[in-house]
Amino acid sequence: MSLKTLVEVKNLEVNFYTYAGIVEALDGVNIFLREGEILGLVGETGSGKSVTSLSVMMLVPPPGRIEGGSILLETGNDKQDVLLMDDSALRSMRGNEISMIFQEPRAYLNPVYTVEDQIGEVMLVHRKPELLKNAVATLEKNNKRRTFEANNYRRMLKAPRSLATRFLQRFGSKKTLKAEVRKEVVKVLKSVEIPDPERVAGMYPHELSGGMAQRVVIAMALACNPKVLIADEPTTNLDVTVQAQILNLVRLLKKDFNSSILYITHDLGVVAQLCDRVAVMYAGNVVETADVFEIFSNPLHPYTRALLESIPRPGKGFKSIPGIVPSLINPISGCRFRDRCSYALEICQKVKPPFVELKKDHFAACYLHGGSR
């Protein structure tokens, strides 16, 4: 059973040009996401996990710049490099084939528009022809075939950019189109298990609780049935019982829709309970990638091992990793973890270990287990 790789990030390099210097945020990141799996991206603050996910959508804010590497996206039959896409291709990709949800749901919802308006906006951007066709069909069923409204829709379908269309579409009601959008919105709200979706569709973001807002954001992300969903710490700010509900929802999405999900978090418990595979990041590099059972039982990279040991256990005190994360401005040579690693070798100081497959489907960047030269 060979699963398709939907997203493949190869040797991605991203720099941030700040007043203080050039921050080498990502230094050759390798990630691949397969169809229908949940990949957990684990790392501390500053490891580069958010920057990686933003790069996939080409949303890295200035002063950040993508300096090298490639991000291959599986579209239909061939693979396209996201970094080479032009603006219109990117626009049709975002929200449509890849969607993203963020940490603070209410920061990403416009407070002056209702839920219906916001999810509807996403749908109208990407699925307009389909919605227009449905609207025309509804009108025809109700014997309103020849009305101005129906003709408006037909015009918008046939020649959306012509002057006549753009001028005339300002007149006449768009009630049917709005009703179609509302139907679809309620459908997607139901799919994220929001109770009473008709009422929620008319609510404003400040009326929603944290968990509901996150579900709405997930619904917005799913509005156009994307193949890939990137979730950047969506449950970090939520209560633990609400987090359990959202995690259940994510599992449901994987089961019912066969979504591929890149789930970013720093909580190893969430990773253990939710993800199929895990990628561990440190200081701008991916240091280990493996199946979740494999990583918890056989961590190869010393950082992964240290992370697992630092999980609090009652009666055993708190184990911490000595030292601090190195600065990414003028980063140290060789492996970036070497100053905190209890197993550091001499070669670790000079040459960065390559990210290779050390065991079956278990990748790591470390000289300890024979990644040398």
């Binding site: 700040t18 007043y19 203080a20 002063p63």
Partner: protein
Amino acid sequence: MRPRVKEWKFMLMRIRQNSLALAGLVIILAFVCIAVLAPVLAPPNPADAFKIPRDMEINVLTPNPTPPTMRHIFGTTDQQYDLYYACIWGTITAFRTGLTVVGVSLIIGLLMGTVAAYYGGLLDEALMRFTDIIIAFPGLVLAMALVIAFPATVPINISMIALIIFILAMLMLLAFHPSRKLLLVVWGLLLLSILSMFYFPVSFQIPLSRLDKVLIAITLVGWPGYTRVIRGEVLRVKNEDFVEASKASGSSDFGIVVRHIWPNTVYPLLIVATLDIGSIVLSAAALSFLGIGASPDYADWGQIIQRSSPWINRPTELVANFHTFVIPGIFITLFVMGWNLLGDALRDVLDPTLRRR
């Protein structure tokens, strides 16, 4: 290196990088030099430095303005008042106008805004409604009325001064050791001072020149702007964690305001203040031009332009005597522009969201 020095160096670097800001700074520094070196650049009039000298010799020949010559570098205006002297000493007047008005407005606004925002509730409502009433006053009209109605001198009672100083001292003491008894004492003293005003003889009179009256008028209508700015900022800072932490450490209200709230709220005020200096000078110049500002031979830019008002609607004379208003006009424009650029620069530099990028 000491971190505060580092902060200033960072700010200076930001200013240096912004060329408009640099231009503003240069302009203001140039004006400061002119103001400081005024006695050197234009030897002061022995009677009163701010009285513009008239060239009586040429005046005998003609009272009309003469264009710039070696004798009068910028020329003279009607009645042979020397433009050069007026512009140089007018710089000092401009600084004095701008700084005193803004300074006093700042202090009033700071105190009112902080008290209103920090204590909230009814006090806030009362102070803010009072501020709203003041905003409703038309500034220029009030200035005109005050200039006409204010007496030439203001009587001051020496005992009143003493009592007011005493009360201020008690207020400071109150802030450190709040107690009901002290509050009663302060109220009592206040009442006493108001009553004593009528009892004791007048000790001396403070003379108010016309310019002073104009400054008082502008101050009286100018302080609400600062009050609102400070109130907004204090409301924002009041709810921060570190203010609550300071309260948990046992700080008094006064301590919290002085140590935490003011250092964090004063920056937007500085920006408003620098922008205001320019506009205040402009307003004062406008008032002088209308004839209700400084006295006729006072060294003030607006005043000297006022002398060219007779030929405003006579095109030929206007062109012939353009030096009488263009040169002071340039001074005013540069001064206001300098302060505006500096204010914009400060806004960019002190914006906390842009600080550490």
